[in-house]
């Protein structure tokens, strides 16, 4: 049985749906991510889990109990807010001790637990500092220490790293992951940054317009997106509109691209059959497109193309290609002796091409 489960919850603000009929299951000791563009309802979902909002319909169950109507202070969940929400009038110690004092713990216990929590987030000895004099990264750590000091049954993160600069964000990300698994906590993590979600989470739910589009492990989501919107959101992808040519019971499908009129061969799973002569969308990652300088004998899934632009981006280089009207983007590690206007051969790895479903 799942640890936390959202059952058909929805929430409307001023008539428009923020969350619509969402169902999710989070397992014990899992680091679960809610990923989506801003305004997709992920923060609203998190706030409903925290008890800061009440769903209009649906139920939230935690550890077998219905907590839909339970007030936040009675849930015992720790939450790390996007802006940290540190109490500006209290010092570091009092901030971390806040939840313990609410639980009327013994003085000595409060002191020990605060010290331990601060040690865990690597801020030992910061007890007497005013929180307003800390750097962004330090405030962030205090917010995490405050949330874990109460030994939360569930830890909730609302884009906790979005206010940090890039290097600090990546550093804190690693520590956070280590901390949560060390303490054996279950966490729900909201973010709009797919890289962050991939690095942190055991499972991710990709959200859009208040719904969960696809839920799964990061690798599975990246390699096998089920929907065009998921494929578009998770990293760069070439989306190719195509028409299916072969009948549906063969193991290999043939598709004709709408732009350029190329024929592509894609291995087809029996379960993922599509109707003949209907438009569908194929997806291939830029890193799975291989460019060779001279076009040799015409081979399967190889198109001739012209280089339109070369975008240097450090470790990799993006190459924009035009294959008789079909625009493609390829990602190269070494774009040596390739120039704008060159013609070249482009090979699309057949087993890396995905047939996407269209949302009804």
């Amino acid at each position: 049985m799942s640890f936390l489960s959202l059952k058909n919850i929805s929430k409307r603000y001023n008539g428009s749906a923020a969350v619509a009929d969402l169902s999710l299951d989070v397992n014990r000791n899992e680091f679960f991510g809610l990923l989506g563009p801003s305004g997709c309802g992920k923060t609203t979902t998190l706030r409903m889990i925290a008890g800061l909002e009440t769903p209009d319909t649906g139920r939230i169950e935690f550890d077998g109990r219905d907590i839909t109507e339970l007030s936040p202070e009675r849930r015992g969940f720790g939450m790390v807010f996007q802006n940290y929400a540190l109490f500006p009038h209290l010092n570091v110690f009092e901030n971390v001790a806040f939840g313990l004092r609410a639980r009327k713990r013994e003085k000595a216990e409060v002191r020990d637990r605060v010290r331990d929590a601060l040690a865990l987030v690597q801020l030992p000895g910061f007890e007497r500092r005013p929180v307003t004099e800390l750097s962004g990264g330090q405030q962030q750590r205090v917010a995490i220490a405050r949330a874990i000091a109460i030994e939360p049954a569930l830890l909730l993160f609302d884009e906790p790293l979005s206010n940090l600069d890039v290097t600090l964000r990546e550093e804190t990300r690693g520590e956070l992951r280590g901390l949560v698994s060390k303490l054996g906590l279950t966490a729900v993590y909201v973010t709009h940054d797919q890289e962050e979600a991939f690095a942190l989470c055991d499972r991710i739910s990709v959200m859009s317009e208040g719904r969960a589009l696809q839920t799964g492990e990061p690798r599975a989501l990246y390699e096998r997106p089920a929907l065009a919107s998921v494929a578009r959101f998770l990293g760069r992808n070439n989306l190719i509109l195509a028409r299916r040519l072969t009948s549906s019971d063969e193991p290999v499908g043939k598709f004709k691209t709408i732009e350029g009129g190329h024929t592509l061969t894609v291995p087809v799973e029996r379960s993922a059959l599509g109707p003949l002569n209907k438009n569908c969308t194929l997806a291939i990652r830029p890193e799975h497109i291989i460019i060779t300088k001279e076009s040799s004998a015409p081979a399967e899934n190889t198109l001739s193309a012209e280089v339109r632009a070369i975008n240097f981006a450090g470790a990799t280089t993006g190459v924009l290609l035009d294959a008789d009207g079909l625009a493609l983007e390829a990602l190269l590690v070494r774009p040596d002796n390739l120039g704008v206007g060159d013609s070249c051969a482009v090979h699309l790895l057949p087993n890396r091409i995905i047939i996407l479903g269209m949302r009804e």
């Binding site: 109990r65 806040f98 307003t132």
Partner: protein, 578 residues
């Protein structure tokens, strides 16, 4: 509780939600009862009483009042006086705001602060200071008379001119302060963008700066208009034959015609509310969404050329001297021996006796104790009350929330005379049928009126502070397990404290010098300072009256300094969420 819920496992959920319910119900009940007895009942009582003659419903009272020319005259002069006051205050206040906000010159900070000073001068004290300075037997008039060897005083401080000068002097700070704040908010980049698009300075002012200032200007005009409509001390002391509604109400009550007073009260209330609605409607159509302020440029330009610099400084100095003169006069007169100052330009004999009397004689000093006590009680209740209102009126903008805001604001929108008359009429005798009780003649009448009149200031301050507070702080406290009380004591109160206390101190200060309502219902055994000042003036004990005024100003200054310190202490507001 229905059966389905009972079947659930015994969680704490039911008891907790019940408890939250009960305390918020209690708060709502308190707010409802106070508004019912403080605002709804008195106003309805006066309205119905004005519509009855000998126990029968009729419009006779209005027919009678409106058939008198004097009523029309009074209503018309009240409105005209207020409109002209708005005009003159706008001219002076807006120019000063531009001078102090847009240019820097030596002494800008000091003069800028001083310019807002008349705001905290109690109207009655301002009035008598004005009489000492500009009245026909005042220092200026005597000086001019002596200079030119005239036989009689060169002018009489009476009527329209006197009222307008005094109103402008005391009310221009509304325009000065609000326009200044508005100018500070305007993104100077917008003016620069307009300049770069080829607009000349005048066009920039007219098309870019002024439209953005409109909300500030309307707010200032509203405040000025309402204050002028409610003005009482000045028309009483040097209005001459100018009839205004506040004075007519007072005279009708003093002359033993309570029905006429009631009816006039309703008329004044209706005009004030109509003005309020008119201004707010207009304000609603002219709101601008706050544009992004990122990278806003400096808007203050130093006056660079030597001559302009000198001129600006000179203007500021002259202006400040003009501003300080009435107060300086008051201080001077407060040292004058009572009865010694007759026809001389300056008081001939000086003494410390006036102050010594206040400090040593119990009955002389007792008025301060009375005022401090009554204002203190009112301010304290207003403080607690504001948190009750904030708790009840939070959340979605429902009908009930809007109604509460309206009722809370009502006593502020009504002139003090109206509030005093409605309370006095409603709580003159106990009436078991309506649940009314006796306040008139007791200690509580003035604290209650002070509370009603000035609690809107505190409610506004508390609500503004709560809105500025990061809402996620209370949510964080909740998620950490803090219940309602702990959230209030450990998070909301400490964070809202400076703003709330500053607002409370402001209400306290204004109540301290209150005269308009006090003069209608005060209890002789429990006189506030303002009543004492007025009665000393009536006996021509000018020195004593001035000394009372000076002590009152000192008390107010002390409270304002404390409030200013609190404002500055809010350093943490900007420090979080980096």
């Amino acid at each position: 509780m229905n059966d389905e819920r009972k079947a659930l496992p015994p969680l704490l959920i039911h008891r907790s939600s019940f408890r939250v319910h009960r305390s918020s119900f209690l708060l709502a009940l308190i707010v409802f009862v106070v508004l019912l007895y403080g605002v709804i009942y008195p106003n309805l009582h006066v309205l119905t009483a004005s519509l009855q003659t000998n126990g029968e419903w009729s419009l006779d009272n209005y027919r009678q009042i409106l058939s008198q020319r004097s009523t029309f005259e009074a209503a018309l002069s009240s409105v005209w006086l207020s409109l002209l006051t708005v005009l003159f205050c706008a001219l002076i206040g807006v120019s000063l705001a531009f001078l102090f906000e847009r240019y820097t010159f030596p002494g800008r900070g000091l003069f800028g602060t001083l310019a807002a000073l008349p705001l905290v001068l109690p109207p009655l004290v301002g009035t008598i200071a004005f009489i000492f300075l500009c009245g026909e037997s005042g220092i200026l008039a005597r000086f001019v008379q002596w200079l030119f060897g005239l036989k009689s005083a060169p002018w009489t401080l009476k009527g329209w001119t006197a009222l307008l000068i005094f109103h402008t002097y005391t009310m221009y700070p509304f325009f000065y302060v609000l326009t200044g704040a508005g100018l500070r908010r305007i993104d100077a980049g917008l003016a620069e963008a307009a300049r770069s698009l080829g607009a000349k300075p005048f066009r920039v002012l007219y098309r870019v700066v002024l439209p953005q200032l409109t909300p500030s200007l309307i707010a200032a005009a509203l405040l000025t208009f309402m204050t002028s409509m409610a003005s009482f001390s000045a028309p009483l002391l040097f209005g001459g034959d100018v009839r205004v509604l506040t004075l007519e109400i007072y005279n009708a009550r003093q002359g033993g015609d309570p029905t006429a007073a009631l009816t006039l009260t309703v008329i004044l209330a209706i005009i004030s509310l109509a003005a309020l609605i008119f201004f707010q409607r207009y304000e609603g159509t002219r709101r601008f969404a706050a544009a992004a302020m990122k990278g806003a440029t400096r808007s203050r330009r130093p006056v660079s050329s030597g001559r302009a610099r000198l001129l600006a400084t000179l203007c500021a100095v002259v202006f400040t001297v003009l501003l300080a003169l009435p107060v300086a006069t008051l201080v001077l007169v407060s040292f004058a021996r009572d009865g010694a100052w007759t026809t001389q330009t300056l008081p001939p004999a000086y003494t410390l006796e006036n102050y010594a009397r206040i400090l040593t004689q119990p009955e002389a000093g007792s008025v301060f104790v009375n005022s401090l006590l009554m204002s203190g009680v009112a301010a304290l209740f207003a403080f607690v009350w504001s948190f009750c209102v904030a708790a009840v009126a939070r959340g979605r903008r429902t009908f009930s929330r809007r109604l509460i805001s309206l009722l809370v604001l009502l006593p502020w929108a009504l002139p003090g005379t109206v509030v005093a008359v409605t309370i006095a009429e409603s709580y003159g005798e106990a009436n078991p049928l309506t649940g009314s009780f006796i306040l008139v003649g007791t200690f509580w009448i003035l604290p209650v009126i002070y509370f009603l009149r000035f609690m809107p200031i505190v409610v506004r301050a508390v609500q503004a502070s709560i809105e500025q507070m990061d809402a996620s702080l209370e949510e964080a406290a909740g998620s950490l397990g803090a219940g309602g009380w702990m959230r209030f004591w450990r998070v909301r109160l400490p964070l809202v404290w400076p703003g709330a206390v500053a607002g409370t101190l402001l209400a306290f200060v204004i109540a301290l010098g209150e005269y308009v309502a006090s003069v209608i219902v005060f209890v002789p055994s429990n006189q506030p300072v303002s009543i004492k000042i007025a009665s000393e003036m009536r006996y021509f004990n000018l020195g004593t009256a001035a000394a009372y005024g000076v002590v009152l100003i000192l008390l107010i200054a002390a409270a304002m300094l404390a409030a200013g310190r609190l404002e500055r202490r809010r350093g943490w507001d900007s420090g979080t969420g980096g």
